[in-house]
Amino acid sequence: MAAPKVAVVGAGVIGLSTALCIAETCPSCSVTVLSDQFSPNTTSDVAAGMLIPHTYPGTPIHVQKQWFKETFTYLFAISNSAEASEAGIHLVSGWQVFKNSPKEELPFWSDIVLGFRVMSKAELKKFPQHQLGHAFTTLKCDCPPYLLWLEKRLKATGVQIYTRKVSDLWELHSEYNVVVNCTGIGACQLVGDEKLFPVRGQVLKVHAPWVKNFIRDGDGLTYIYPGIHRVTLGGTREKENWSLTPDPGTTKDIFDRCCSLEPSLQGAQDIKVKVGLRPSRQHVRLQKEVLSQGGVKLPVVHNYGHGAGGFSVHRGTAKEAAHLVGECIAALQGSSSRAKL
């Protein structure tokens, strides 16, 4: 088979990082990214991009840990290089505080982030409503910079990027040998996945450059994540809510909750409100599927459903997806050479 043609549908953090991994592992492949939305209009652009994993109930912990470790290691190297500011990757330290003791004493990722330890009583004084806390240092991927940097890396390796609304994966079968589905919440409609559902998140992005540490309530609802230029204040987790319109009552509620964790936020300026739909699932759909119609086959690799944990595992799942693409291509080459006999 001449240069296998791979289409990656979706240009959020999952689509772009998957395309990059495919280009890296399969230099002979011709990779194309197709999406109707690009940064700054993807779900990824709304997210803070903090490397704090979300636990998927349906995936073995050792697999999630491996995905996170690969992602952390990859981004750690970039953060420590001259490219860090362009890529939007930086280290940030802070605290996760709990009003009630968490189920597990230590999260599965505590030995992957840096300097993880239980907070001292003196540190907890800053959070009078909270009983217990964890202090650690992790990474943050700021968007749009990270997505724009990925696009730049892709173009440098010869990957083509097109704006195109794909309504049905099958429409790609005549142009491409393998299709990679990184459509996030779009997969609901695109492939009719009933196990995929939105978890609506509203956030505020504010100007508060004196906030240098992150603070996260262990319930996952209230968080303060300092980025390069803006601090992300969150948030909400509203299952099955499809509305992309910011809600003013929610804005005030988020602001009040964050100010009670960090009073200096009262002085925050230029508040921008954003909404994203976390593409949520019991476990990430990371698997091959072969579509067929009238004797024609189209191998598909799905890589979607990362919910609240996309940034934390993106590189790990991208590598696994690239591996699955390699298997699809090997199978196609095997069958095409058999056809020659």
Binding site: S79, N80, S81, A82, E83, A84, S85, E86, G88, H90, L91, V92, S93, G94, L114, G115, R117, M119, S120, A122, E123, K126, A135, T137, D142, P209, W210, V211, K212, N213, P226, I228, H229, P263, S264, Q266, G267
Partner: protein, 347 residues
């Protein structure tokens, strides 16, 4: 009761405020006037990055360690207040790096969450094999000095722009107590061979992705002669120059190169940082802070002087503890003058 404060850096303004807060109620006639030839943003304090961190060793000077602690606790108490942003006060975490193991510092239990660095963290800093992580405070003088000035103005304190040439100049003019917060130029008012400049130079850059302070230490070359990176609310300060005895306040191209190369090696992402400003200043270095009373006679006039200078590279770190100690000395002066006697029981 007229008080003349000479000097309007962090020491002068905070001492003036501390004294007024504590004694205005007891001494309704208290009048404080500040005299200085340099005001914010042109003071030595304005050049400092503003990180609360004492030197590595207090050399047995427990008094100074206590003043540092009092300052930290005072600032920490203000963190949650509405004033914090206006004061330029915020929490910041970061790294102290060494090429060999060192004893824990006197301030390990003053800062928050002090711990040693893990091997993985040390991978970030090739060439350094040991280090600390902790959360401390930033107090940016470009905000703090105006905030102090506003508080003082509200209290009726007056400010005068002049270079005071002698203590007699202000005491002869009617000041009962003179507070000497003249920092580097205290020697102009009274010779002090122990006060020497510790010249520093810094480069201010735009690097908002840097969220931690990083202070490196070279035990051979001495404090602040090794690169450091301190992110502020708007700019990040790059430094690593300490030249004892150098009075030159002009920027040096050689020092610029030293700072830039060393800091970029320490933090490669800085290569893309945009340089905004360069500044040099003289740390008012002394073996210990001069914080004491002196009675000065000039003919028939006697003036009480309270000296509060020589805070080297830790002025912001120690300022409030010193202000309170100076205020206590002021209180003893009031007692002697029978102006602030303890309340008498009514018979």
């Amino acid at each position: 009761m007229r008080v003349a404060v000479i000097g309007a850096g962090v020491i002068g303004l905070s001492t003036a405020l501390c004294i007024h807060e504590q004694y205005h109620g007891l001494v309704p006639s208290l009048e404080i006037e500040v005299f200085a030839d340099r005001y914010t943003p042109h003071t030595t304090s304005d050049g400092a990055a503003g990180l609360w961190q004492p030197y590595l060793s207090d050399h047995g000077n427990l008094q100074e360690t206590l003043w540092n602690k009092e300052t930290f606790d005072y600032l920490l108490g203000h963190l949650g207040s509405a004033a914090a942003k206006e004061m330029g006060l915020f929490l910041i975490s970061g790294y102290n790096l060494f090429t060999q193991p060192v004893p824990d510092p006197s301030w390990k239990n003053i800062v928050l969450g002090f711990r040693n660095l893990t091997p993985k963290e040390l991978e970030l800093f090739p060439g350094y094999s040991y280090g600390w992580f902790n959360t401390a405070l930033m107090l940016e003088c470009r905000s703090y000095l105006p905030w102090l000035t506003n508080r003082l103005t509200q209290r009726g304190v007056k400010f005068f722009h002049k270079k005071v040439e002698s203590f007699q100049e202000v005491s002869g003019d009617g000041a009962d107590v003179v507070i000497n917060c003249t920092g580097m130029r205290a020697g102009d008012l009274q010779p002090d061979p122990e006060l020497q400049p510790g010249r520093g130079q810094i480069i201010k850059v735009l690097a908002p992705w840097v969220k931690h302070f990083i202070i490196t230490h070279d035990m051979k070359s001495g404090i602040y002669n090794s690169p450091y990176v301190i992110p502020g609310s708007e700019f990040t300060v790059l430094g690593g120059i300490y030249q004892h005895g150098n009075w030159n306040e002009e920027n040096s191209a050689q020092d610029h190169n030293t700072i830039w190369e060393n800091c970029c090696r320490l933090l490669p992402s800085l290569q893309k940082a945009k340089i905004v400003q360069e500044w040099s200043g003289l740390r008012p270095a002394r073996p210990c802070v001069r914080l004491e009373r002196e009675s000065l006679r000039h003919g028939h006039c006697q003036a009480e002087v309270i000296h509060n200078y020589g805070h080297g590279g830790f002025g912001i770190t120690i300022h409030w503890g010193c202000a309170m100690a100076a205020a206590r000395l002021f209180g003893s002066i009031l007692q002697e003058k029978k102006l602030a006697s303890p309340p008498q029981p009514r018979l």
